[in-house]
């Protein structure tokens, strides 16, 4: 692999607190050196490095998405690991964490390894998140130690939340012993049967059954109670796609009490509210659902004030024929890998003036820290050469049809976004160029 010199750009690396004009030399899949503009020219010549001109661009650690559905094994018609990671690379991501609700459920070291095999043709690094219980049935724990050895970086029954107190307690304890976080899709499904959107006046008017915010907050509160009752301080609960102010308060309270609780928020939950469902737009159907304007504002405020650890897309591709159905029948979820940076830049940086370093921290450094991905989310010397280059001032229009994902189910088709990815480098290889 040829060394690469990235020169002339503005390097933003929240992990080392750098936000300055710096050149960057990549060698052997790692960051070899960082120095003032021009200072690495000689070393680069010596290595006959490929030169990438980053003038006017931000050079940042590659984005890390800790919540994606790549649909393999089993549902290649929606997405494959190859197509999903190609979309990720186009969106500036260099690492994605793949949820286990595949067919079959990823509850074994074999499937975990299969997902990471070079035969999958992943464009970027894929970190599997394994099922916490066999078949995600909520009954018997999987082998956390063996799953971790096979490459799993967390356990979850995403989409099929762990409801039983005893099994959740067991999962937290077993995961703590091997050093894995437990990720919970917090939804008390006893309160959401037959529901397809947020509960409230709009759901009533549309004649759809609504999911109350308590379905989320009750389970978050329960999980936190179980965590508090545990002796093992290593136990780590990560709350997936937080969407309600009520659950957020529980997370904040738990942290004040010294518990290891982290959370992520998806772009759609701080950008859209339930009104996007009007006329039964199945591209605005996801779980957790788009919430009230009050909850959306709470998510936005929590991201800005630092209460949220990570922005994660919950990239959930579905085929057109699955979404072109009656609203209640259509599956939950939207794609997100190619819009995450542009949306986050437009809203958080463009509109709410969040500094670039915070945007990068939320999309790269912090998610890497949450799931303990060593050498990711950072451009310190010795880190993986995972890099995104983007023009922070360029406005562009996202066209779903041009997406690299196999699926086009997004409510952001035609949106004007800010910050265009010009190149993505994964472990020293250029995997995307605009």
């Amino acid at each position: 692999m040829k060394p690469i010199l990235i020169r002339g750009g503005r390097l933003v690396d929240p992990s080392s607190g750098v936000d300055a004009d710096r050149d960057l030399l990549l060698k052997d899949a790692r960051v070899a050196a960082i120095d003032a503009p021009g200072k690495l020219n000689a070393a680069a010549r010596q290595d006959s490095a490929e030169i990438i001109d980053a003038k006017g661009l931000i050079v940042a650690p590659g984005l890390v998405d800790i919540h994606v559905h790549l649909r393999e094994p089993g549902q290649g018609y929606k997405e494959t690991i190859a197509s999903g990671t190609a979309a990720a690379a186009a969106g500036g991501f260099t690492a994605v964490c793949a949820m286990p609700n595949t067919v079959p459920v990823n509850d074994s070291p074999e499937t975990t390894r299969w997902m990471q095999s070079p035969e999958r043709s992943a464009q970027i690094r894929v970190f599997p998140i394994a099922a916490a219980t066999r078949g995600s049935m909520g009954e018997a724990l999987t082998e956390f130690g063996a799953l971790k050895a096979a490459g799993a970086i967390a356990v979850t029954d995403d989409g099929k939340p762990i409801l039983g107190d005893a099994i959740m307690r067991e999962a937290l304890a077993a995961a703590a012993r091997v050093g894995l976080p437990v990720i919970q899709h917090a939804e008390d499904i006893r309160m959401t049967g037959g529901c397809s959107m947020n509960a409230g006046a709009l759901a009533f008017r549309l004649g759809l059954r609504g999911m109350p915010v308590e379905a989320e907050s009750n389970l978050v509160e329960r999980d936190i109670r179980l965590l508090a009752e545990m002796k093992d301080s290593r136990a780590h609960l990560h709350v997936a796609h937080l969407s309600t102010a009520k659950a957020l308060e529980a997370v904040k309270r738990a942290r004040r009490n010294g518990l290891h609780v982290t959370c992520e928020v998806a772009p759609h939950h701080f950008i859209l509210n339930e009104e996007a469902v009007a006329e039964y737009n199945t591209h605005a159907k996801m779980n957790p659902p788009l919430r009230s304007e009050t909850d959306r504002e709470a998510m936005l405020a929590a991201i800005i004030d630092g209460s949220v650890d990570a922005i994660a897309t919950d990239h959930a591709p579905h085929a057109a024929h699955e979404k072109e159905q009656e609203f209640e029948r259509a599956p939950n979820g939207i794609t997100g890998l190619e819009t995450a940076l542009g949306l986050t830049m437009a809203i958080l940086h463009g509109r709410h003036k969040l500094p670039l370093s915070r945007v990068i921290a939320l999309l790269s450094t912090q998610p890497a820290t949450v799931l303990n991905l060593k050498g990711r989310g950072s451009l310190a010397a010795g880190s993986f050469a995972d890099i995104v280059l983007f023009d922070p001032k360029q406005q562009w229009t996202f066209h779903a049809l041009a997406s690299r994902s196999k699926s086009k189910n997004t409510p952001f088709d035609g949106w004007s976004l800010l910050g265009k990815v010009t190149a993505t480098i994964s472990e020293g290889r250029v995997v995307f160029r605009a």
Binding site: G207, L208, E279, E324, E326, E328, G350, R351, G414
Partner: protein
């Protein structure tokens, strides 16, 4: 290097709907302006009064499909009669005797009907919002004959015609935002599961009516009052009755209760429209019911068959309103700006 562009706009634009619906579809009462409603009411009266032979010419040999995923007596028959009285050919496709049973999607069923020559589809479907799927798939005018718990707009229009005839006599006059000023209309029963209730509570306040919703918590959530302006909740049926000139009773929809445990004796005790209660609290009110009636549950025979009952009028008005809706959908007659 990409060129730097202008400052970003404050917010991304709202998502644009993928396709627009046919302008003369009727999916929600919100699709209609007050002028549209006036035109529909006027057309209903004109068509009803017209010579049957002449009436046949309006939609002579036009092709109307009735696509019914749920059973129906009144609505289906009344749409079918309305279409036939205007001369149209109708074809009925029902879920249990078609490829729908084999798993054909709503989209494909719609495309098939269009390819077979359908010019307008009347849809009854158990899921809220289904007419939008059909409309996007076919681009045809869609008449919503009831979708899940969402809306039943032709029912609300025939109810409006029944109410206006009762209050102002049979001659149609244009409606305005004050046509029902000072009129209180109670809708009582299983509001949560009722598309009839939703269409009526969204339509009637636009003409100035005050709508009082009545029923137990399980069938009438507090959020219902926020569905639109002019809607209040009164849980005491007798208090609601004593304010009302019009009372609409609704059936308890056992098929949609989804595990809800409802004490029916308690329900009857509090919410049944029976002769004593109506005589004591609403002796002058018009009693309506969209059907089907469960006699002895939400309403007793004495009331349903009594002098205050407008149930048969409602059914009769259904044919006239649906003739107007079909003429509007297929010819533009009774659409805004015409037939003034």
């Amino acid at each position: 290097m990409p060129k730097t562009q202008a400052k970003p706009r404050k917010t991304p634009p709202a998502p644009t709907p993928s396709t627009s619906h046919h302008p003369r579809s009727l999916i929600s009462v919100a699709d209609l302006s007050l002028d549209d409603i006036s035109a529909i009411l006027k057309a209903a009266s004109a068509l009803e009064a017209e010579d049957p032979q002449k009436r046949m010419k309006h939609l002579f040999k036009r092709r109307v499909s009735l696509l019914f995923y749920e059973s129906s007596t009144r609505t289906r028959t009344s749409f079918e009669l309305a279409a036939k009285q205007l001369g149209a050919d109708t074809v009925l496709v029902s879920a249990l005797s078609s490829s729908i049973e084999k798993g054909e999607s709503l989209k494909d069923t719609g495309i098939t009907l269009r390819a077979l020559g359908a010019e307008c589809i009347i849809l009854r479907h158990p899921q809220s919002g289904a007419p939008y799927v059909l409309s996007r798939a076919t681009g045809l005018p869609i008449l919503n004959a009831g979708d899940g718990m969402h809306e039943h707009p032709s029912q609300a229009l025939l109810d409006l015609r029944t109410i206006l005839t009762h209050l102002r006599g049979p001659k149609p006059a244009p409606v305005s935002a004050t046509s029902l000023k000072g009129v209180t209309i109670t809708i009582c029963g299983d509001i949560f599961h009722s598309r009839v209730a939703r269409s009526n509570m969204l339509l009637l306040p636009r003409l100035g009516a005050r709508v009082v919703l009545c029923g137990p918590q399980a069938l009438l959530p507090e959020t219902a009052a926020a569905a639109g302006p002019g809607i209040v909740i009164e849980r005491d049926f007798e208090k609601a009755l004593s304010q009302s000139q019009i009372v609409m009773m609704l059936r308890i929809q056992a098929e949609r209760l989804a595990g809800l445990n409802l004490d029916l004796d308690e329900y009857k005790l509090r919410y049944q429209a029976n002769a004593d209660r109506i005589a004591a609290h609403a002796p002058e009110a018009l009693i309506m019911h969209p059907g089907p009636i469960i006699r002895g549950l939400e309403i007793t025979s004495e009331v349903a068959d009594g002098p205050q009952s407008a149930i048969a009028d409602q059914v009769r008005n259904g044919v006239a309103i649906r003739m107007a809706l079909l003429a509007r959908a297929l010819t533009g007659a009774a659409s805004k700006g015409k037939r003034k």
